[in-house]
């Protein structure tokens, strides 16, 4: 680690030539071209994954991490790109968010997921940031995670022992911690093809209009039958607990209803009840609990509108 090695701290402010003398900062960089090679490299001591770099480079500069090896995943096949077939959607985990937002058919299928990724940082950040990075960085306030949870997204997790499928809500275990074993990484995300009369939405509250971290984020996905009765719902919340949440009681409040005032009120109560937030400069515990209910209700309203207007 950098701590206690003043010569390394100093290299942050000096030229690249002096960099070469700070021994512990020497980092290797590899671009594996297969998932097996990537998993093998990531199993090594001191290896750190690089996708879009929007979190890693900030941590490197701040001295919060000092990897021996940076494993750039972007050359691994199928880590980039968006595919669709009768089984559903597949989004490569290292596809830049801007690229996902520009995919018209994906944006039409999952508008709430696209809303969430278009709230990450700035235009410049979205040019690099990825879904895999946003998830595995494991911030409780990551914008795409509640939307992906609501969408029922499943991660393809690859490691030296092969591949396994993990629902998005099982990845983050604590702030900054995820359930991936050493050497594992997320290869892609699978989302279903939304049925007829389905819709999703994501809303985030921040004190200004852009460039901030969620005080609360709420994602809702739902589907209706021909009579307008809700047959399926999933509710995700962010920034109101140590991890993003799947709110089962929120879904129960909607399923079997016509998503009317009473159902939305019950959803808001369930969302507020699921919160276990902290006080910080962005919001108090009481405020976050209240806003979580409001945003869940409003997101459900938008998802419902989308479901009824979809052909």
């Amino acid at each position: 680690m950098l701590a206690g090695k003043p010569e390394c701290i100093a290299t942050q402010y000096t030229s690249s030539n002096t960099h070469r003398e700070g021994k512990t900062l020497e980092m290797d960089y590899q671009t594996p071209t297969s998932a097996e090679d990537a998993a093998g490299l990531l199993s090594k001591d001191g290896a750190h994954v690089l996708a879009g770099g929007t979190d890693l480079l900030v941590k490197l500069r701040a001295g919060m991490v000092a990897p021996k090896l940076v494993v750039d995943l972007k050359d691994v096949p199928r880590l980039r790109g968006i595919e669709n077939d009768s089984q559903g959607w597949r989004v490569g985990a290292a596809t830049p968010c801007a690229e996902i937002g520009e995919h018209a058919a994906f944006a039409a299928a999952w508008p709430g997921v696209v809303e969430s990724l278009e709230l990450i940082g700035s235009t410049q950040i979205q040019g690099r940031a990825t879904l895999g990075g946003n998830l595995c960085n494991a911030s409780p306030a990551a914008d795409t995670v509640p939307a992906l949870i609501a969408a029922g997204a499943v991660c393809e997790v690859v490691g030296v022992k092969g591949q396994r499928e993990v629902p998005v809500e099982q990845i983050v275990t604590a702030p900054g911690q995820n359930s991936l074993a050493r050497g594992e990484f997320v290869l892609g995300f699978r989302l279903p093809n939304p049925p007829a009369r389905a819709g999703d939405a994501y809303l985030r509250f921040i004190p200004r209009t852009e460039m901030d971290i969620a005080v609360v984020g709420a994602g809702v996905a739902l589907a209706l039958d021909a009579k307008g009765v809700c047959t399926h719902a999933r509710v995700g919340l962010g920034a109101v607990a140590p991890t993003p949440l799947l709110v089962g009681d929120g879904a129960k409040a909607l399923i079997g209803t016509k998503v009317d005032g009473g159902a939305l009120k019950a959803l808001a109560a369930a969302a507020s009840a699921a919160c276990n937030p902290i006080d910080d400069k962005r919001g108090t515990v009481a405020y976050r609990i209240k806003v979580a209910g409001v945003l869940a209700r409003r997101a459900a309203g938008i998802a419902y509108e989308r479901a009824t207007s979809r052909k």
Binding site: S16, D28, A98, S122, Q124, R128, E210
Partner: protein, 174 residues
């Protein structure tokens, strides 16, 4: 450990450089290639002063490793004017006095150019949201936003009048 040998294209020129893993693309542009137009405001992706295009995509050069540029296409503020002819955005920024200290200006120009290439007729709101990641501590943004909107209008005029004469009038007269 030896440095990485990187071959890339910057503003249409093939270049090569040596860099350590921890050097960012911004470090490389400024310290190895002496292209000091891209500025370092924060080095954490917050200010946009280092904005460049990487394979046609607007990014913060401070959040890209220099080694990641291998085989890719980088465009910086230095490539924006053609010879002595300023890009319409550059010219209009001068006319609107849309800069004061100028630290944010290269990044804002690169970002605004990327916007106009994908949206020839942005609304004021679209300009403000697109440039939300470019901080300016001097101007209060208003002149910047007006200059971008004015340039967009000029460039639309130039293309819709189709003839070369109209285009010329805009570049010269603007």
């Amino acid at each position: 450990m030896t440095k990485h040998h990187v071959e890339t294209t910057v503003n249409g020129n093939e270049v090569e450089f040596l860099c350590a893993t921890e050097q960012t693309l911004l470090d490389v542009l400024r310290d190895e290639l002496y292209l000091t137009g891209s500025k370092e405001g924060c080095s954490s992706g917050d200010c946009g002063a280092c904005s460049v295009m990487l394979d046609g995509r607007l990014v913060c050069a401070c959040l890209v490793l220099g080694v990641e540029a291998q085989g890719r296409k980088v465009e910086t503020i230095e490539g924006m004017a053609s010879g002595d002819t300023l890009h319409p955005l550059q010219q209009t920024f001068l006319e609107h006095a849309a800069l004061q200290c100028g630290i944010c200006t290269p990044g804002i120009l690169v970002a605004a150019k990327a916007l106009l290439e994908r949206n020839a007729d942005p609304s004021e709101t679209e300009v403000r949201f697109w440039l939300a990641g470019n901080l300016c501590r001097c101007t209060g943004y208003d002149k910047i936003v007006r200059a971008v909107l004015d340039t967009a209008a000029q460039m639309r005029g130039a293309t819709s009048k189709s003839g070369k004469a109209a285009k010329k009038a805009v570049t010269e007269g603007a």
